[in-house]
């Protein structure tokens, strides 16, 4: 891997503060210290003009990408021409970036080797962040389904006089027979109980 060119000035634009911090940390750890993070694009033209970044990293969800690109066309706001990505011919890097949800703009004429490590770092951090968010989401939904199953068990224990273990195995058997998730069965049962039974004091 080539030695990072730490003299480059990098602007990170991301409305997601947590992700911006993750990217900033990654770049700082790699030795880049001329980093600026912006969460809001209001007044960005002035910031760009002040910072005069060599590289701009922005997330693809950002609705202000069009605004940012239009600024590159206005020489009044941006002193130096800025093109997109490291190198148009580097299709693999471009695809990896778009897949990861990140886009980078680079001052025209900057050599590929100097910018590639920055883009690679941004891509890997974006991917890591997406993975983290997904895991968090999964953990949350696992917790949700456990709560549902607990409530369904409670209903069965009360209405059918079953033990906790029997209530659970009934839910499980039903799920297997119907080829559905146990949490789905639990949810249907809770809904049905809510419809059929008189209101409980919960």
């Amino acid at each position: 891997m080539p030695e990072p060119d730490t003299s480059l000035s990098i602007l990170i634009i991301d409305e997601n503060r947590l992700r911006a911090a993750v990217i900033q940390d990654g770049l700082r750890d790699a030795g880049y210290n001329r980093l600026t993070v912006v969460h809001d694009v209001v007044g960005i033209a002035r910031r760009i003009s002040d910072i005069s970044p060599d590289v701009i990293v922005i997330d693809l969800e950002n609705p202000n990408r069009d605004v940012l690109e239009s600024m590159f066309q206005l020489s009044r706001a941006v002193k130096r021409p800025i093109a997109m990505f490291v190198d148009r011919s580097d299709q693999a890097a471009i695809e990896a970036a778009v897949d990861a949800g990140v886009s980078a703009y680079v001052v025209d004429g900057l050599k590929r080797e100097r910018v590639k490590p920055i883009l690679d770092m941004a891509i890997s951090r974006f991917n890591a962040f997406a993975r983290m968010s997904r895991e968090l989401e999964e953990a949350r939904s696992q917790l949700e389904s456990r709560k549902l199953v607990d409530r369904a068990k409670g209903i069965l224990m009360k209405t059918r006089g079953l033990s906790e273990a029997d209530a659970y195995s009934l839910l499980r058997k039903t799920a297997m027979n119907q080829n559905r998730k146990i949490s789905e069965i639990a949810e249907s049962l809770i809904t049905a109980a809510g419809l059929l039974a008189p209101p409980e004091d919960t």
Binding site: L60, D66, S103
Partner: protein, 409 residues
Amino acid sequence: MNERRSHEIVAGFMPLLDSAILVAAKEKRFAAAEGIDLTLVRETSWANIRDRMAVGHFQVAHMLAPMPIAANLGLTPLAADTIAPIALGLGGNAVTVSNALWIRMAVHGAIADLDPAAAGRALRHVVAERLGATDAQLRFAVVHPFSGHNYELRYWLSACGVEPERDVEIVYVPPPLMADALASGTIDGYCVGEPWNTAATSSSLGRIATIKAALWRSSPEKVLGVAAKWAEREPEALAGLLRALCRSAQWCASRENHRELAEMLGARALIDRPAEWMLHGLSGTLDIGGGEARQADNFFVPFDKAATFPWKSHALWFYSQMVRWGQVAHSAGNASIARETYRPDLYRSALKPLGIALPSANAKVEGALVAPTPVGSAGASLTLGPDGFFDGTLFDPDRLDDYIEAQRR
């Protein structure tokens, strides 16, 4: 299901009223009827649509009508060769100004009739007045440099004696943020598609001064951008999609479907705004602000007047404006790239089996028709017009050089 192979197509779109034809093609199963499994992906910027076309995530996309031309001319980063074989309707934009600006315009004779000439004249007086008082320049917003909004706004200002590069400032703002920018005083006016004019007028934040349908009558706003490589590889899939879009356009045009269409577009997964907002643009009964409504009959035309036909004269007019505003240098080669971006040949060959009206010509003189006029067509009879620009200037695509020369400042 018959033996026909089904085609998977992924289309990017922006949440705007004029995504209607694409959205209804999926929701009303016009695409499915052509054996197309159409997936729609909502995007947050035109830049994303362009990038995701370039890396092959999308085969086709809802695009600003000048965007494919800009892509083929190499004016945007990371653009793949893109063709426009169908337009997604005519009209749909408006110019909205702040209440404060409207009051000054009214003092100078602007009345609430959407007339571009009168509103523009009043605006010129306001600009002169502010210059005299050394007030800050008026600031107008559009959504993208390569957009009908940008060129229409500039055309209107210039034709009314306001120099866009000198007398006002033009900035870029994403559509959903326009009304807020107007309310906060960041901008004094904007040109955008629906429902983002209604977003301001329905909350009494601004007034619609004029509309695209009056500035350049019968003009396209969005097209279907198609990755050129994919189109070459999958001509059948493309032809099927064009037929589906044409049937969808017919459905969207029908008044009795407007309520359903408005609900569809207003839904959370789409534009996420009240269906009532969509109905203004669909019916042409505009909420122009100040509690007033105006009927603009051709405000948004999805099907009639060959509304989906990709006229080469439209492509060339957009090109002429790119030259006018310094986005590209004029050359015979560049003009040819622009002309070849729009593909009426693909449109005709795909839609022939439908028996709908197909124009015989590929280009027309914009402004030649001052009233609805029957024109040469195949399949069914066709009435076009009125078309052309509010100031009466003709655009003859065969005299492109003269037109560009006349607009040189």
